[in-house]
C-alpha cells in the first residue's frame, strides 16, 4: 500500500510523515514495510485484531440514554511510533510533574504553604468539590498520594503538551497491553525488526509499587483491587489487572472494617487487607464519610486509612489536583516545589472564574474548546469551531450562569497518525496516555494507551465518543 493519496497539512504535525511526504527517520522501516503489504493483508490484520477482542470480551460499557451497552474499543492496526528521544522527554516530564503533584497534595492537606504564599488562591482549593476536608492532616506512606497516574498528552507543531492529569482512577492501561498483544501477533515480522520496547511487564511494576506503599510493618502485604462490580464500564480492566498483580478482586460488600482494620471475608474467616487499589471514586468509597447512599463502598474505610492500617491507592482526595482549574497551576507548582522549569508544557488555559478569563472565553468562543471543570470522558464540552452558532450561544449562557465551572483552551491542532480506513491510509487525530507509577521510586513502562479520533476531522478521542485505540511503539534510538 502506498501513501500517494495520503493527505498532509503543514499546520498539523503528522506522526509518521514529514510535510514533504518522506517518512520521519524513526518511521522509515515501518513505512517501507507497509508499502510492501497489500490492502487485503492489512485489512486481515485489522479484522483478526477486532475479532480477538470480541471473543475475549475486551470491552467497555457505554451509558447512553437507554440502557448500558457493551462495546469493543475499535482498534486501528497501524501502530504509532515514538522515537527514543521523544519518550525520554515524556518520561522526564511526567516524572517531574507527578513529583510536584504529590508534593502539592501533601502540602494542601497539611500546611498549605502554597496557598499561604499566594501561589494558588484559597478559594480555588476550597471551592473544589474534590477537595476532601476529611483528609486534612493525613500523610500517606512515603508522601505518595498519587501512585497511579494516567496523563493525557497531545502533540502539536510546537511539541508535546499535557492535556490533563488523571489522578483519581485512570483507566486504559489494559487496552495498552491488549492492543500490543493483537498488533504484535498481526505484524509479527515488522514488530520484530522494529525492536519495540516492551510494555507487558506493567503488572509487575504495579505490584512492586503497591507493595512499597503498604503500611509500615506489613512486610508481606495482602493487596486487593476494589471494583464497583461487573456493571462498571471498566470491569474488564479491573479483572485483568487483579490477575496481573495477583490481587483479590473485591467489591465493597467483601470488605469489613473492624476496630480500624480492614478485612476481607474469606471461606476460612476474615483476612486482613493491607493495600487497596481502589477503582471506585472518592464519593462512593465510604458511606460514613462521603455519599451516605453509596452501596459500593466500605463503611469505616476512611477511618482505617487515616489510622494508617490500610493504604488506599490512590489516596482519597487526589481529585483536587486534577481539577481542570487547578491544572492551570501545575507549572507554578513545579517551580514552587521543585525549583525547576516544567519539562512538559501545559495547554494555555483560561479560567472563567477570573473576569478576564470569562471575557476572553465569551469573546473567542468560536476558536476555543470549553470544558466543565468537573467533567470527564469528553462529555459536556464545547468544541467551538465545530459547533453551530446556536450551540455556542446556548453554551455561552451556561458559562455566564456559572463561570467558575468552566475553563477554555485554544482548539489544538492535535497531531495525526495514519489509520487504515476502508482500505486506504487516512490521517486521524491522536493523543497518548502513558501511565506513571510512584512508590518509593517512579516506574513507567515505555508505552501508552494511544487514543485516536476515528471520525474524520474529529478531535474527540474518548472511547465513549467514537474514539478508538492504536498500539504505540516506543523505539530504541
Amino acid at each position: 500500500m502506498d501513501f500517494d493519496t495520503y493527505e498532509l497539512d503543514p499546520r498539523v504535525y503528522d506522526e509518521m510523515l514529514l510535510p514533504d511526504g518522506a517518512p520521519r527517520e524513526h518511521c522509515r522501516p515501518l513505512v517501507e514495510a507497509l508499502r510492501r503489504m497489500s490492502s487485503e493483508e492489512l485489512s486481515g490484520v485489522q479484522e483478526r485484531a477486532t475479532r480477538s477482542f470480541s471473543h475475549e470480551g475486551i470491552s467497555f460499557t457505554v451509558y447512553g440514554e437507554a440502557e448500558a451497552q457493551e462495546r469493543i474499543i475499535p482498534i486501528d492496526c497501524l501502530p504509532r511510533l515514538l522515537s527514543g528521544a521523544d519518550w525520554k522527554l515524556i518520561e522526564a516530564g511526567l516524572t517531574q510533574r507527578l513529583n510536584a503533584l504529590n508534593l502539592f497534595l501533601e502540602d494542601i492537606y497539611n500546611e498549605a504553604r502554597i496557598v499561604a504564599d499566594g501561589v494558588i488562591p484559597t478559594d480555588l482549593i476550597r471551592g473544589c468539590p474534590q477537595f476532601r476536608i476529611d483528609m486534612r492532616g493525613f500523610s500517606p506512606p512515603h508522601g505518595v498520594w498519587v501512585a497511579i497516574c494516567g496523563t493525557d498528552i497531545v502533540r502539536t507543531n510546537d511539541g508535546f503538551l499535557v492535556l490533563e492529569d488523571n489522578l483519581r482512577v485512570p483507566s486504559g492501561v489494559s487496552y495498552m497491553i491488549a492492543n500490543r498483544k493483537v498488533i504484535k501477533a498481526g505484524l509479527r515480522r515488522i514488530y520484530r525488526a522494529a525492536r519495540v520496547r516492551e510494555v507487558e511487564h506493567y503488572g509487575r511494576l504495579l505490584q512492586a509499587t503497591l507493595r512499597e506503599l503498604a503500611p509500615a510493618g506489613r512486610s508481606d502485604p495482602c493487596i486487593a483491587l476494589l471494583t464497583p462490580g461487573v456493571y462498571n464500564a471498566a470491569f474488564y480492566e479491573h479483572m485483568f489487572l487483579a490477575g496481573e498483580i495477583g490481587a483479590e478482586l473485591v467489591e465493597g460488600r467483601d470488605l469489613v472494617v473492624n476496630d480500624g482494620v480492614v478485612y476481607m471475608r474469606t471461606t476460612a474467616g476474615l483476612r486482613r487487607v493491607d493495600v487497596i487499589y481502589r477503582r471506585i471514586d472518592d464519593d462512593f468509597l465510604d458511606p460514613l464519610v462521603f455519599r451516605p447512599d453509596s452501596l459500593l463502598g466500605v463503611p469505616g474505610l476512611l477511618h482505617a486509612c487515616r489510622r494508617g492500617n490500610v493504604s488506599v491507592v490512590n489516596a482519597p482526595g487526589t481529585g483536587v489536583a486534577d481539577d481542570k482549574s487547578v491544572y492551570a497551576y501545575v507549572p507554578d507548582m513545579i517551580r514552587y516545589y521543585l525549583s525547576e522549569d516544567p519539562i512538559l508544557a501545559n495547554v494555555e488555559t483560561h479560567l472563567c472564574r477570573r473576569p478576564e478569563g470569562l471575557e476572553y472565553t465569551l469573546d473567542n468562543l468560536e476558536r476555543l474548546v470549553v470544558k466543565r471543570v468537573g467533567g470527564s470522558g469528553g462529555y459536556g464540552m464545547l468544541v467551538g469551531p465545530h459547533a453551530t452558532p446556536a450551540e455556542r450561544a446556548a453554551y455561552a449562557d451556561e458559562v455566564r450562569a456559572n463561570p467558575a465551572d468552566f475553563i477554555a483552551q485554544p482548539t489544538l491542532a492535535l497531531s495525526r497518525s495514519p489509520c487504515l480506513i476502508e482500505g486506504r491510509f487516512e490521517p486521524r487525530h491522536v493523543d497518548l496516555r502513558p501511565f506513571v507509577l510512584r512508590g518509593r521510586q517512579t516506574r513507567m513502562v515505555p508505552g501508552a494507551f494511544c487514543r485516536v479520533a476515528l471520525r474524520r476531522g474529529s478531535l474527540v478521542v474518548n472511547s465513549s465518543q467514537g474514539g478508538g485505540g492504536k498500539d504505540l511503539w516506543v523505539l530504541n534510538d
Binding site: H55, R265, R271, R272
Partner: protein, 322 residues
C-alpha cells in the same frame, strides 16, 4: 479464598449441572416422542416434573389417547422446561444463572473456561422453541449437554486445583446427588401413582446415567428394578451414581477443611458422613427404597445449608481474624 468467589464458583457449577441433568432428561424424553406409546410419554413427563418439583403449565398432565394431543402437550411442556424465562429451573434460566455467576467471578476461572461458557450461552440466546422443534429437539439437548461437558473438560484441563476448584466440584456433586435422588424418588412415586412402570421406564433411568452397558454386563438384559436402583445408588465407579456423588462431595469438604466456625464445620462433616452411611451401609439391607431415597434427598438439601453456614454466611463476630 474470597467468600464471594467461592460462592460464585459453587453456584456456577450447580446451575450448569442442573442444566445438564435437565437436558439429559429432555433428550431421552424427546427421543421417546418418536416411537413410544402415549402412556410411556406421559409417564416420562410426570417423572420429569416430579423430579424438578414443578407443576406443569396446565396444572396437571392429562393422559389422552390421541397421539396429536400427546405431541402438542409435549411441545408446551418442553418449552416450559427449556426456554421459559419465568421458570427458574428451565435450561435457559440455569444457563443464565450459571453464566452470570461466572461473569461476576471471571478472574477466578481460566480464560478458556470463560470463552467456552460464553459461546454456549450465546448459542442458547439465539435459539427459540420452534427452532429446536422443527428439526430435532433431541439433538439440541444432546448438543447442549456436550457443550456443558466440554466446559467441564476445559475446566479440568486448565483450572488451578485450589480452593476454587474444590468449591466448583462440591457444588457439582451436591447438585448431582440431589437431582438423582429426586429423579429416583419421582420414578418410584410415579410408579405407585400411575401403574406398573414398564421396562422402558427403568431402562430410561439407566440411559440417563450412562449405565446401560455396565448394567447389561453386570446383570442381564432383562431389567430388574431393584438391580437398577442398586447400580444407580451404590456403584462407586459410575460417574453419576448417588454413592459416588456423595463420596466426592465428602472428599471436597474434607479437602477444603474447616471454615471459620469449628462447630458448623464439624456439623457439616458429620452430615456428609451420615449420608454416605445411608447409601453404603443401610441401603443394601433395606427394603423400603423410597423412604431411604427420600431421606437422602432431604439430607442433600441440609448439606447445602450446612455448606453455606460453614463457609459463606458465617457471622462476622464469630470469625477469627488473621
Amino acid at each position: 479464598m474470597l467468600v464471594r468467589s467461592a460462592q460464585g464458583l459453587y453456584w456456577m457449577s450447580r446451575y450448569l449441572e442442573r442444566a445438564r441433568r435437565l437436558c439429559r432428561l429432555l433428550q431421552l424424553q424427546t427421543e421417546s416422542l418418536v416411537d413410544r406409546p402415549a402412556r410411556e410419554i406421559h409417564f416420562g413427563w410426570s417423572r420429569i416434573y416430579a423430579s424438578v418439583n414443578r407443576n406443569p403449565p396446565a396444572g396437571r398432565i392429562e393422559l389422552l389417547g390421541s397421539d396429536d394431543y400427546t405431541l402438542a402437550d409435549s411441545y408446551t411442556l418442553a418449552g416450559d422446561l427449556t426456554f421459559e424465562r419465568s421458570n427458574p429451573d428451565s435450561v435457559w434460566s440455569c444457563f443464565d444463572q450459571g453464566r452470570e455467576n461466572a461473569r461476576q467471578i471471571r478472574q477466578s476461572i481460566s480464560t478458556p473456561m470463560w470463552t467456552q461458557l460464553n459461546l454456549a450461552y450465546l448459542r442458547l440466546q439465539a435459539l427459540e422453541m420452534p427452532d429446536i422443534w422443527a428439526i430435532s429437539p433431541e439433538s439440541f439437548y444432546a448438543d447442549t449437554v456436550a457443550q456443558i461437558d466440554t466446559f467441564v473438560g476445559v475446566a479440568a484441563a486448565t483450572m488451578y486445583r485450589g480452593e476454587g476448584w474444590r468449591f466448583m466440584q462440591l457444588g457439582r456433586f451436591i447438585e448431582r446427588a440431589q437431582l438423582l435422588a429426586a429423579v429416583l424418588v419421582a420414578q418410584l412415586t410415579a410408579e405407585q401413582e400411575v401403574e406398573e412402570a414398564s421396562d422402558a421406564d427403568w431402562t430410561g433411568l439407566l440411559r440417563l446415567c450412562h449405565a446401560v452397558e455396565v448394567y447389561n454386563r453386570r446383570f442381564s438384559v432383562a431389567v430388574q428394578p431393584r438391580q437398577v436402583l442398586d447400580l444407580l445408588v451404590t456403584d462407586p465407579r459410575l460417574p453419576d451414581s448417588l454413592g459416588r456423588s456423595i463420596d466426592r462431595a465428602g472428599e471436597e469438604i474434607e479437602a477444603i477443611g474447616p471454615g471459620p466456625d469449628p462447630d458448623s464445620s464439624g456439623a457439616l462433616q458429620r452430615l456428609a458422613g451420615r449420608i454416605g452411611g445411608v447409601v453404603h451401609y443401610q441401603w443394601p439391607d433395606h427394603d423400603d427404597c423410597h423412604a431411604l431415597l427420600d431421606q437422602v434427598r432431604t439430607h442433600c438439601y441440609e448439606l447445602h445449608d450446612r455448606v453455606a453456614t460453614a463457609y459463606f454466611d458465617y457471622a462476622i463476630e464469630d470469625a477469627p481474624a488473621n
